[in-house]
Point group: D4
């Protein structure tokens, strides 16, 4: 802003122009279906991400195309993208130097023009069951794209609690600074884990369950209601959010 | 009613006939699946509308056909109409002077025999995200068919709050008299907007969301619970209702 | 903003000062428990209002006192204030020219230094039952403090639907421009009313009900789900919000 | 029971046999997937009915076949039967004197060996909208199969309340003794009707609605919460139950 | 209406007067907090009733006083009236020929000027447990004030199902035409009863329960969901509604 | 029944008498507010119990008095009895050989005429937290009154999972045959325990919790949703039910 | 553990090795998607079971294959397996001595290398309706694979309560030690049954229902809320859990 | 553990003793109502905390007394403690060197024997409204007792969004590393804040709200559903949990 004011005082611009510029400073580009915050991605050091499931395919394609055609586009992430849509997108895009990296389990597409080194820190990712792996993988991709190493251990649920200890011990020794714990059903694993460690535990409820637990609400509420402090929670199946939150913790260090 | 009574006193009709007529005055036409309120549409100045999703296709066709065959039919609007049903309808109707105007995004069919000039006033329509556009478009079609100009700005969500100000300022300068604000997810945009303006804000929660927000209930409740006064809310995905409500406000002016 | 920039160019202030002022322009006063938006009240022409129920008495007293002690305070409204708290407040305040106007039914306190003429327009306020009157009165006070005349008709519920017509007809003839309809229980009244009129209907669900309707959620949902267009809804028991919304509609005229 | 005891006293049977018979009197036939209460149907004068949707097709076929093969089978009703299943059933059954009478709207199959005269009484059936007709038709078939005449009037919803009066007046004049009122959305119609008549009103909430009303729960709760007495309610979409309940009322006369 | 028209033709009144009278015919008296439908009570043969719990005491007193002061007042019923409020009311009313009949269990006050003979028919009233008796008593008072005899049997719950049969048999032999069945907890009793009889069963869920059943919602849903036809349901704790509904059935006979 | 039939054949009674007796055999005594199943208590070997909270005090006193006055009354248990009501009851009862044994924590009153030896088996009772102890104590009293020994270990919650193992090991060594596990909050303890043992685990959710877990629903659902088999669940705070269920398991052995 | 310590004292191993072994003792094998607790299955005498519905097919195949390839694999159970997935699995597995035993109704696959004799005890399995049979069959397979005999009686619902007694009497005479009662809709059957017997009753709510009961929640809550003690409940449609729980009861004997 | 093994090998202890010690290593002290994890508090560097609201006063006193009497007790925190209970506790405790520090707003008692320097880092704490301050203060006390400095700014809600920017900017400049954002009502503030900063945002929903938002569920869900990444959430009113979570983030640095 100072720059603009200096131009004014130096009479390089007039008052009207100055007033316009002060406003324009925060005005962003437009197109028909989306407004992109390119400054945010450079500010946070994390690639821009598009949450795809509720978007029309046409809008999605438009957004991705416009992004790639913009000036100096960086890596772009598309989340919750089905295989069918991915294949369509792969056909319809003119990549020009970018590579598509689609993780089917995580339902994430990374559109990359440069590799991200995994040097910022280490994040542990745990699941209670086999069925929670897809969400855990979503978190893993995000964590890695954000420049961290992910150490995973899947299917160490609460019903066989003795399976848990060596895994946790291993991760702590490896130096993980944050734990992402994915669990559906009764959602007890983050509580148990948080009772054992003193690093931040991010609970990710998954929509794995049936009967009263259908959709993951029981797991979510159990995590919120945990009697162990040191847990914070993200939305059901929000592996993406857990990954980004873990990154904000590690980047602050 | 006076007319009937005068006929009675002039002995053009008898008491029985008079009594029958006084009642018949409010009796409407019948057919097998619907009763139409044609007088309402002329009274309110807004075309009759048919909410289609829960109707059998056969019933829908019958309703539309009967309407078009009635005396002096005006424009007719069919809402929440899928492309598949639209195409079937387009085939099965004998239009005779009417034109079909189908907006796929808005899922609205306007069956028109005359254009509506957009001169009554201006309505601003905003969405938080790209995924809310379909509902916003539904509102836009309604607003325009009711004779108002719609000024839209889509994807200016709350997470990048600085994107919001110039858009709102622009709309106010353009002279919009009502704002329709569509948002899913956490539904915060109407609250933020209502804190900035002093014209009526109509909140339209959309069914965009996942986990705890699936179906739009979180967005709805957040809007109802807004700590900013000056907001009223319609049902989830009810772009139609928001549009009509905006029209009732502007027509009163 | 222009003013500040002109001072800069006239060298009445320096760049730092200018930059500071541009920011300060939106910075508000502080005290320990609340931040007041005095510029909003002058902008919207509606007195500042304090929602009191979840505030500690000490905080409430502090807020009111500080407001009255501020420069050129205007009328102040305190909503959902119990008689007990009102009496305490009446004792603890040093009014100095202000008058207290407490409406027990509406649970509203208006702290006034000048009367507001009721000349802006007319708002109709209806209740389905006797039990909804308190909320209707809350709306009435707000509407009148905002400068409109309120025409009320209470206890004209849907179970005796023929009681409804003459009341509505009377209001329309009187020239009301907006209808506020308060109803608990099954919440059907706004739907029925909106089917009869073509002015905006604001539905206010009340927490009157029992069994499945306890707390007013059934009434709320019934209003949102209304098959009559031309209705928008505010939160349960939010007579205040309905009143303010009605004012924003009428002030735009 | 008396008969058995008399056989005992006449020494036609011994004590053990008598004791066994007294118990057997209430024991019913078995087959693998269902136990039928043939005595109930003769007791109540209403044909046996099978609720089909959650049954495997194989089980359904077996039940119907066994019923038709049993001694002196009477009419049989299969409810909530899709067209696809009906066609399969029509192919797989050996009817031997029975006729199939499938009502696609009502999703009901009546397997008949004799016509039922409609002489017991008259039942009025009303719907709020076109979309509620299928459920109303389910009630109509049941009412007619139970020996009553049904007088129907569909799509006379609450939003155009003046459409309602002549219809109700007509039904009362025709001598209906019970009213079945089907409504989805905000479910207000039964309340309004019950405020106008003094015969029993059976509310049938339908699963017509969207947003907060999806699935019909709003309509159900609004009916339960009705401020008009003289209403009782059945489950959502339970046209069958409403029909049977109307029959129990009329049969008692 | 005919009368008015005849006056017109006989020139006893003019057109304006006639038009006014035709409208006035349905206009009711006003006072500040309630509008009374005195014609309804004479039409339905059931005394006017006031649902008291959500009314301010002042409003309640006003309503009752005005009613007693009106021309030819009949019996009046006040429901859900606490002992405390009853005693206040008893003090504050000037009865002038009326007698107060307060049933503490039923929380009902009958203000009577004449006894009602119990000759119209018989209604059976059953409760599952001791805790449901208060609601059953509410129904009993209503049934008796409406001119029917009530036969009661309390605490015959489903957990000791063999206790049920002799009670039901007894009632049927006594000639009850309708059964009101009150149950909280799991709410199974109406289903079991409806499987045994062929007269209408009105289920009244009570707010007796704890844990997941708190407030009576489980009982309500179980009754709605009953696999026995021949049941209709009223709101939780709505003994009044069940009583009135039973009366409408019996009066039609 | 045989006895009655033999009397018939021996002509000690006639057919009518016999038929009457066969029915009377299952008819139980009456009084105004409750029907007691004294045969059940002797059949199951567990004292009759009265669930007191939703009963009027007058009814409760009547029930207890009548029970004690009946022929050969056995021990009687009154559950969920507040101290205040207990004291009133202690004053109002004429005990005549019975002793009152009130456990304030468990809110249970045992009215005893003989001690019950604890020899049938052993039941382990565990709580997650201190706040769950009251419910656990309710279960303990029931288990002991039913003739079993209870081994308790309280406050061994899941957040410090290592506290759990030695406790469980100890109980198994002591020979407990069933485990009752009480937990509020996130309700994870039964899942963890069931993963470690191979005896039946009865989960008792408690109403300990706040925010999303208020009222115990989260704990209940988490137990139902447990990924460990070998758990069954009772209602929230139902220590009584858990105790009785444990007894039915042990008595079968 | 003792063995390891003795090796240490005998100097067969060093301290590090000992420390490692003490930990390793509880460490389990790993593969990418699941961790198996083979020691648990031998400990509990019940075959390892895989809950399949939320697992990717690839993961499921991997888990089953690895299990069969492991050392001395025992019988393996796969639950909630659709026919389609079963057929795919049957194709993709190399069975080598194992036999596939797929129960389509129960949606269970048993992969067997030895038959299990049914000699441990007897379990009664009852359903309220035909639609509950699939879940009952799931329980039956589990009970039989665990070595017990299952005695079943299906479709003996509560609406024809007299159908129930002979069935229950028969089962008790046959010596069943536990009853599994499956019911959807209003879920009343377990309450009724538990009022008649003194053995443990395990309630299994099924997802059979419609309207308010959709998904089985009403049945679940009704069972939890049962006024009959001696019931414990498992999750909706959890025939597996009910079966395992019954086994833990019988194995303890 | 190594120590114990070395004693074994040095023959200072025998195998049995060694085995016992290995187990005892994790066994904790007992008393009647609670088991304390003193090792956890020294491990995590945060004082032991007692969640008091659902505990009997007697238990609470016992726990605190035993803690203070234990060997080398450190600071102890009691949360959600009402003034009444605090005063009772202050009377009943024999402090012996400890000081009581009760924060009435935060409802927290700190029992201290040494001051904690606030040098670990800085945490920003924000509230949307005045009513959220109590919960924010709870977080503040926790953060300060854990050794961090708290920078607070209260009542900067979303309805006047321009009030927000200078506050956030100030905090970022001051170097806060984590933001705790407390909001009730529509709960939008954390979303807005997380869109502006790139440090971790911990959302704390408060139970401030009315109508549909009563109890804070709307605020909670809105935060979980936030379209801004970088947010994680704790339970409603869980200022304690937010504080501890912030500490685990900062301690890892």
């Amino acid at each position: 802003m100072r720059e603009i004011l200096e131009k004014l005082i130096n009479e390089e611009i007039g008052i009207e122009e100055c007033e316009r510029l002060l406003k324009a400073d925060t005005i962003l580009e437009f197109d028909e279906v989306a407004k992109f915050d390119k400054s945010r991605s450079s500010r946070t050091g994390f690639p821009e991400a598009v949450f795809s499931p509720s978007k029309d395919y046409g809008d999605l394609l438009l957004i991705v195309k416009n992004y790639l055609d913009s000036e100096n586009p960086e890596n772009l992430i598309v989340t919750k993208l089905s295989s069918e849509r991915y294949e369509k997108l792969a056909n319809d895009l003119d990549l020009d130097g970018f590579k598509l990296n689609y993780n089917k389990r995580a339902q994430i597409l990374v559109i990359r023009n440069k590799e991200v080194p995994k040097t910022l820190g280490k994040v542990g990712i745990i699941t209670a069951g086999t069925s929670d792996i897809n969400i855990a993988e979503e978190a893993r991709v995000i964590v890695e794209e954000g420049g961290c190493e992910a150490i995973t251990s899947y299917d160490i649920g609460v019903a066989g609690i003795h399976r848990l200890f060596p895994q946790i011990a291993h991760m702590i020794k490896e130096g993980v600074e944050v734990l992402i714990v994915c669990a559906g059903m009764e959602g007890a694993l983050p509580s148990v884990v948080a009772g054992l460690v003193d690093i931040p535990v991010i609970g990710v409820p998954t929509s794995v369950g049936y009967g009263v637990g259908e959709g993951g609400v029981v797991a979510l509420n159990a995590m919120l209601q945990s009697c162990a402090p040191g847990i914070a929670v993200v939305n059901i199946d929000n592996g993406f959010g857990a990954g980004v939150f873990a990154l904000t913790i590690i980047k602050g260090r």
